[in-house]
Symmetry: C2
Amino acid sequence: MAENSSGAVIPPQAAAVAPVARARGARMAVLIGPEQGAPRFITRRFVLAPGARIPAHRHPTLEHEQVMVRGEMVLGLDAEVRTVRAGDAMYLPPGCAHWYENRTAAEAEFLCIIPRTDGYDTEWLEEPPEGAFPG
Amino acid sequence: MAENSSGAVIPPQAAAVAPVARARGARMAVLIGPEQGAPRFITRRFVLAPGARIPAHRHPTLEHEQVMVRGEMVLGLDAEVRTVRAGDAMYLPPGCAHWYENRTAAEAEFLCIIPRTDGYDTEWLEEPPEGAFPG
C-alpha cells in the first residue's frame, strides 16, 4: 500500500465502505490510515442502520476513542448499558467488552479511532445476531 | 492527573472548552485524553465561529487526523487552499503548514486527533489575526 507524506482531504465518497463482519446492519469505512501515510492511529466511520447490532467483543491490547456524530445508539461497556447521542465521546480501554445496537428508526454514525498496530486481536463474547454479515 | 482504565462516556458538557491561543473566534475541548487514561492519542473538538481564523503554523513532529462534523471552512494545507465540509476527513502529516478560516455565517466544527506525546512543538508562520485570543 502506498504511503505518502503530503496533506490530504478525503471526501466521504472516497473512502471504501464495507459491511462489518459478524454484525447486522453495520458498515465501516477507513477515513484516514495507512493509505494516507498515517503512522500512529487510524480514523474510521461506522454507520448503524435502524435495527443494527454489533455483538459483544473485546480487544485485549487495543483502545478505542469514539465520537457520536449523528443519531443515537445503545452501547454496552463491560457491565454498563448506555444510550449515547450525537456529541457524546466514548473511551474504551484495552480489554473492555463492548457492543452496539441501534434501536431507533434513524441511522446512527460514530467515528472510531484505533492505534495503528501489526495485529488487531478480537475476542468475540457473543454469537453473530440473526441477519449478520458473515465473518 | 488521574488515569484509569474503565470505559467512559463523556457528554459534550463534561469537556472543558477553552479559546485557542493566537486564534480569533476558535475554541477547543479535549474530549478523550490523559484524564480518561488514553495512552496513545487524544481526541479534541474545535468549533470556529463565523469569521474565525487560526493562523498558519506547523508541528514538526506531530500529525493531525481530522474530520469535519458540522458546517464548512477553508483549510490551508501547505500551498493548497481547500474548502472542507461536514463529512470530509483531513490528514496533516508532521511538518505540514496549515491554517483554518470560517468564511460562512454558521459555526464550523471538526474533530482533531493528535498523538499523545511529551511535547507539542508548534512553529507559527503568521502573526495572530486582529481580535485573536492572547497566547
